[in-house]
Symmetry: C2
Subunit: 158 residues, 2 copies
DNA sequence: TTTAATGCAAAGTGTTTGCAGGGCC
DNA sequence: GGCCCTGCAAACACTTTGCATTAAA
């Protein structure tokens, strides 16, 4: 889907809840679209938006991300490093939030597969629990990742 | 396993890394043992320890929990509500950190099953990634949990 | 003109750190 | 005596909030 289509769709989602796609919000959404593959923190988003819209305030970015999360346009997630990270929720992402987190180099890779449908059916039947979302993270190490050669900043989460 | 046995075991784990089981640390561990089924925040632990050991400082509790987490005696986890939560890691818990999180009432239930061994083998073969741990959370709702009748504080995480 | 949205600065929250004092090999 | 551990308070990092101003319908 093209950027303009996506912007338009998000615009409609906002309007249908009586919110406006202000220039600040649009700039924020554009950054999220541009960095769709990353898991940006609010600070990251702020810095990137500032390039295009230097007068934006940090609070506005936080408020925008919060709003988008409420409307399920972005997903707010948390990798335990004390900062929230934000991802556009494209349809294909739903039910595919699977991460491999390397404990040596901190690399974070997304796996796009839906492994858990069967399990979710079981939960519905055995526990009476209807799953609307899930998250699945694996911690471990890559075979190629010897601690000696692979010491990049472990904050390099993408 | 009895409390004293467990304390003794933890004592040995500490000593083997040159740490002491001080009275403050013992009081903290006792609280963790007593509330093994819960997912206590540092603040929770602090309040509970204070009952038995009123002079303890919050920083000591944080330091103790951090230390125990480093030694893998407790597990530090994060449910996205901005507070770290701590759990004693009994052997049976390893690889069984599966949670059902109800988005209506906030109830958090632990499921003790190991569903992912097969998946982890696949990750090792297909991705060259050796899994040492994982976490799996399901968000959704219980059939019995109508939003009308079930509105307890959503911070009631246990 | 009425309401929503913004920027800034201040406040808030959970957590960590510096440091002087205390206890234990 | 040296070293680890503690309590306290201050510092910290991330996030939220109050408020006066601005932009939009």
């Amino acid at each position: 889907m093209m950027v303009l289509e996506q912007l338009d769709k998000i615009n409609r989602q906002l309007r249908s809840s009586n919110y406006k796609l202000t220039p600040q919000r649009e700039a924020t959404v554009r950054v999220l679209l541009e960095y769709e593959q990353e898991h940006l923190s609010a600070e990251d988003v702020y810095m990137l938006v500032k390039d295009k819209y230097p007068d934006i305030g940090l609070a506005t970015v936080y408020r925008t991300l919060e709003l988008l999360a409420e409307l399920h346009i972005v997903e707010k997630m948390n990798f335990g490093d004390g900062v929230a990270r934000f991802d556009l929720r494209s349809e294909e992402h739903t039910h595919m939030h699977h991460h491999l987190i390397c404990t040596v180099c901190g690399a974070l890779k997304e796996i796009k597969d839906d492994w858990l449908l069967e399990l979710e059916n079981r939960l519905q039947q055995e526990y009476g629990f209807k799953v609307t979302d899930h998250r699945l993270d694996f911690m471990g190490t890559y075979h190629t990742c010897k601690s000696s050669e692979c010491k990049r900043a472990s904050k390099a989460i993408s």
